[in-house]
Point group: C2
Chain length 130, copies 2
DNA sequence: ATAAACCCTTGAGCTTACTCTAAGTCAAGT
DNA sequence: ACTTGACTTAGAGTAAGCTCAAGGGTTTAT
């Protein structure tokens, strides 16, 4: 039921440096230490790391994640803020998905163009940068 | 048919600083200058900026974008590399889309939880970090 | 002809998010 | 006892991508 920092690093793909850095930044306020001063991560801590990953990869900077955690620590008086944050994040994700789709179309077009170009040995630009 | 750096900044949402920075990094090798040393952007340059935006937002670092541009400048001998780059980028976008969908599910779940919590005035954690 | 609003270059500075170094502690195995 | 390996701290260093400051030039309107 307890993981060392090295085990968590393997599980999450984050480096031990990064995990300590996250803790220093206030992102892991629940990680305990044993008698020798070693960090002991619980399953719940792994859950927090998953959430951090989720927020980070959807474009919330570490500061924003810390804000959320601080709100969480403050308790029920910040429920609305936390809800708003997730709603805001949902909008961001929707925007990102739309953008990615648009970019995907462009990339597919380029793949088409370049596949032909490779077959023909030369690229014909039809008033189009490529 | 010619735009000043300020006009391009407005059109693209990039700052004039960023545009000059991109040029310095070799990302805009086609931008000309007029007799007074002012940059004059063409429509084709705007096309390049769109492509840069596309590659940047799909996770290619500026160095990678520069590599592509260098290949472009080298001509037909690099067609295969450029095709490979776009194929690689397509894979990246697919991965990003899958990740975003996963994160969206988590965020939607949080919104559900927190919407209830706000209505009830308190958050019940069911063996779940939140 | 003078001010306002642009533009220029060089080079320094900033933010984010790590990433690493140095010096040391601790527990387990041989 | 001693080595190995994983851990600790504080603090320095790094890379990417801007962002700004200083000092100056040009164009346009009044």
């Amino acid at each position: 039921m307890g993981y060392s920092i090295g085990q968590v690093a393997k599980k999450t793909g984050l480096s031990v440096h990064t995990l300590r850095y996250y803790e220093k930044e206030g992102l892991l306020p629940f990680v305990r230490k044993n008698g020798s001063g070693l960090r002991v991560f619980s399953d719940s801590d792994l859950g927090w790391l998953e959430l951090i990953e989720c927020l980070k990869e959807t474009g919330l900077p570490l500061k924003g994640i810390k804000q959320y955690i601080d709100w969480y620590l403050e308790g029920d008086s910040t429920l609305q803020q936390r809800l708003d944050m997730f709603k805001q994040q949902k909008i961001r994700v929707e925007e990102q998905m739309a953008k990615l789709q648009k970019h995907m179309n462009k990339i597919n077009y380029k793949i088409e163009i370049y596949t032909k170009a490779v077959a023909e040995g030369t690229l014909h630009l039809e008033k189009e940068t490529a």
